[in-house]
């Protein structure tokens, strides 16, 4: 990493400004009307990586979306090479040589890699240049060292490979400015390093790169300049050489999050979850023959690290009943629960804080009270003989809302759709934990929350741990996993490749495991 910084050319004010934003503001219409971006000035020059740093919800993605033409802006001006332009759609952005890699994958899973690239091709409608594109992609793959077979269907690729396809897709069109929104979230640390090399090669060709991240070590690994964003406002732009990690952290997060949360030592005896040689459905091809095995004890927090797409969601589905098990067993609190229904797991006391909270965690079109009761409506006192007791549901919802500081205008008038992500997460946390369940599966529980809310959530988990709850914490954020976990396991291609005590864990070791442990052997 250090030698990369070494070869970085010094950022220079003399090089050409490729893309510039002047006084950009953005407000989303709706009930919670406020500006999400306020008067942002931002530019990217030829041959530099300009990083946008900020915590989740600071407005980084919104800036990138506006610069690429995906979102409209409320106010301000965009200039390409000094000329004012109007960007009404990504099409306009591409026409001006601006391309963006979005955080969520913008791929058609049913298409091959080459076909995905071809979607953006500016070719006559009745032509079909698939073979030519495949060959060009082969060249591109060789040139940048992004290993992907252009002839394979995207749905058959791993998450990391799909991320590479996104970058290939963009590179194919040879943009002058490349916007990358959290491109490393699906990559192992080693893959991320590989990506940084690619980015460097691109800046060497005179391209300008906007890199979005909330991870400090990445910022230092790749940036020439950095702009810090907080709550929609720019907190200053500076060359990376003129700042340091502490300074940036303070600017970005306001308060620093602790490295390792202290907690009373407990001797773990009873198993809350036992997973034995588990191969979840959908992982039959990928998983090792021995499957996946681990045990989670009562009163323990087990962190599960790993690059997204290595079987986390399938594992969660298997131990919450959301989808079936191909082989192996799942035992919860001493009872074998393999292939039981979600309802059975809920009854057993397995709480689940899902990653996709808007899609899975709540029903957006239903009211706040109904969502708070989403798992309890069928139990007394919330219903009797299948007839709902609205008074009880209201009383309960009021309690949850106030206990978890959720900001909601009305329990029976407000559809959850209009709530912010943070408030939705508060409702979910409240709903899943108010009974102090014996088992909690928490997937990315603090993603998108501000530092204060993160701290509250962590304290909540430690309090639940103290009361004997077993918590499985799945997160791609190594900081979180390392701060909270009693033990840390690393999942890779459907198997656990290593387990370490939380106190003894270090980033490098975990990173090697996340890549399957193979890269460390090669290195």
């Amino acid at each position: 990493m250090t030698d990369q910084m070494g070869i970085s050319p010094p950022p220079t004010a003399r090089s050409e400004i490729l893309l510039e934003a002047r006084g950009i503001s953005k407000g989303f219409p709706g009930v919670w009307e406020h500006l999400i971006l306020e008067h942002i000035d931002f530019d990217v020059r030829a041959g530099e990586v300009h990083t946008l740093l900020g915590e989740n919800g600071a407005g980084k993605t919104v800036i990138a979306n506006i610069l690429s033409g995906y979102y409209g802006k409320t106010d301000g001006e965009i200039l390409v090479k000094g000329q004012p332009v109007t960007l009404e759609s990504p099409r306009d952005g591409l026409a001006h040589g601006i391309a963006m890699v979005h955080q969520e994958l913008m791929l058609v899973p049913a298409f091959t890699v080459a076909e995905n690239v071809m979607v953006g091709l500016n070719a006559p409608g009745l032509s079909f240049r698939k073979q030519a594109v495949e060959q060009q992609l082969d060249d591109l793959v060789a040139h940048y060292g992004l290993q992907v077979d252009p002839r394979v269907r995207v749905e058959d690729l791993s998450a990391g490979e799909q991320q590479r396809v996104e970058i290939l897709k963009v590179l194919f069109h040879q943009p002058e400015v490349l916007l990358l929104d959290e491109p490393t979230s699906l990559l192992t640390p080693q893959e991320a390093d590989q990506l940084f090399k690619v980015l460097r090669a691109m800046t060497d060709e005179g391209k300008g790169i906007v890199f979005i991240s909330h991870k400090m070590h990445e910022v230092f690994a790749v940036s020439d300049r950095v702009t810090v964003l907080k709550l929609g406002k720019a907190r200053g732009t500076m060359p990376i050489s003129q700042t340091n990690e502490d300074d940036l952290t303070r600017k970005t997060f306001g308060e620093t999050v602790p490295d390792y949360m202290e907690r009373p030592a407990v001797e773990f005896t009873e198993n809350a979850i036992e997973v034995d040689r588990l191969i979840p459905k959908g992982l039959e091809k990928k998983a090792p023959a021995s499957g996946l095995s681990f045990a989670l004890h009562k009163g323990e927090i087990l962190g599960l690290a790993g690059v997204a797409g290595n079987g986390q969601s399938e594992l969660i589905a298997s131990i919450t009943g959301l989808s079936g098990v191909s082989s192996g067993t799942v035992t919860i609190l001493g009872e074998e629960m393999t292939n039981r229904t979600p309802r059975a797991f809920i009854e057993k006391g397995v709480a689940h804080i899902p990653e996709r909270r808007r899609e899975m965690g709540i029903i957006e079109q239903m009211f706040v009270a109904e969502n708070v009761a989403l798992k309890d409506y069928r139990k007394t006192p919330f219903s009797r003989h299948t007839i709902l007791n609205r008074e009880e549901i209201t009383r309960h919802a009021e309690e949850i809302v106030s206990r978890f500081n959720a900001l909601v205008p009305d329990l029976w008038e407000t559809e959850c759709r209009i709530l912010s992500g943070g408030n939705i997460q508060r409702l979910i946390l409240g709903r899943e934990t108010w009974r102090e369940p014996p088992v909690i599966i928490a997937s990315h529980p603090t993603e998108g929350l501000d530092a204060k809310a993160i701290r509250h959530t962590w304290e909540l988990f430690l309090a639940l741990r103290a009361k004997g709850s077993a918590i499985l914490l799945i997160s791609e954020d190594l900081d979180e996993v390392m701060s909270l976990s009693d033990r840390i396991g690393v999942i890779f291609e459907g198997g656990i490749v290593g387990v370490v005590e939380g106190e003894n864990a270090n980033r490098e070791q975990l990173g090697h495991w996340m890549a399957g442990g193979k890269i460390s052997a090669a290195a």
Partner: protein
């Protein structure tokens, strides 16, 4: 059964295939792009009326078919604008189109002459190709040709790739620089034109007349054929043919004295529907539809 009978059934099936398949491949185009138009029946009906009027007013069968295409395109445009730019519900629009067409066609027939019926003079009907073993409508060949063309465009061209991308993942298509709503609108118009042609075929070719109930549910059968075909225009050809075959066969065998004594005609008449249901349930099973089907695309 003699050979002549087999030819007879074959020709009935081919002619019955035309409207179903034409409408189905049109629907395939727009469903590939993410639009679901349940208003096919209505477009067929309006196309039949326009075809009859167009053929008679211009004195040419081709112009009649063109009138059907134009009318279908217009309704497709209406459907497209409502379901893309205005982000309306596709289902509601489709149901509305059906209801509107049912009333409008009957109304026009009443207002333009005899209520409920209008015949197309033989001279301005599509001339058939005599093959010795039977008469073949050139529209059968047009249908086969169009099915192949649509298959080719959807599967083997850049345009088809764009259409399918818009249906599968409109956000990805948008980010890649495609005009999602424009493309969808285009497919809606194309689908409307094909359904309009199918309708005009009913009046200008197959029956030589338009009545207020001329479609007799064929628009809905076309919808079923799209599911049957799994969005493959070539299979839609087969689906239309199979349905036409069983429908023709049912009517055909109901004229045979021997069969009539064994099975009541009502059960023979049910057969095409039962068989379609069984085929869809058995052989085809689950069909994968575009992920963006039926959902209006909204960027922010």
């Amino acid at each position: 059964m003699e050979l002549a009978h087999i030819w007879g059934i074959l020709f009935i099936s081919l002619h019955a295939m035309v409207p179903i398949t034409l409408a189905a491949i049109g629907e395939t185009i727009e469903e590939s792009a993410g639009l679901f138009n349940i208003g096919l029946e209505g477009i067929l009906l309006l196309g039949a009326l326009a075809g009859a009027i167009g053929a008679e007013a211009s004195g040419s069968a081709t112009m009649g078919l063109m009138a059907g295409i134009a009318t279908g395109g217009l309704i497709g445009l209406l459907f497209g604008v409502l379901s893309t730019t205005l982000r309306g519900s596709q289902l509601i629009t489709g149901v509305g189109i059906n209801m509107f067409a049912l009333g409008f066609v009957a109304l026009m027939l009443t207002l333009l002459g005899a209520p409920g019926f209008h015949s197309v003079p033989r001279a301005v009907q599509v001339p058939l190709i005599p093959l010795g073993i039977g008469n073949l409508s050139p529209m059968v060949l047009v249908t086969v040709f169009l099915a192949v063309v649509v298959w080719w465009v959807l599967r083997r061209t850049q345009l088809g790739l764009w259409i399918r991308a818009v249906g599968e993942n409109p956000a990805a298509a948008d980010v890649a620089g495609l005009r999602v709503n424009t493309l969808r609108l285009g497919t809606a118009i194309a689908a409307g034109m094909l359904a309009g042609l199918a309708g005009a075929y009913l009046s200008v070719d197959w029956f030589g007349a338009v009545t207020k109930e001329i479609t007799a549910g064929r628009g809905f059968i076309a919808l079923a054929t799209v599911v049957f075909s799994g969005l493959n225009p070539l299979l839609a050809l087969l689906g239309g043919f199979i349905f036409g075959l069983f429908e023709g066969l049912a009517t055909w065998i109901s004229t045979y004295p021997a069969i009539k004594k064994i099975i009541p005609w009502q059960f023979v008449a049910m057969a095409p529907y039962i068989i379609t249901l069984l085929v869809v349930a058995g052989a085809i099973g689950r069909v994968r539809f575009p992920k963006g089907l039926g959902v209006p695309y909204l960027r922010e």
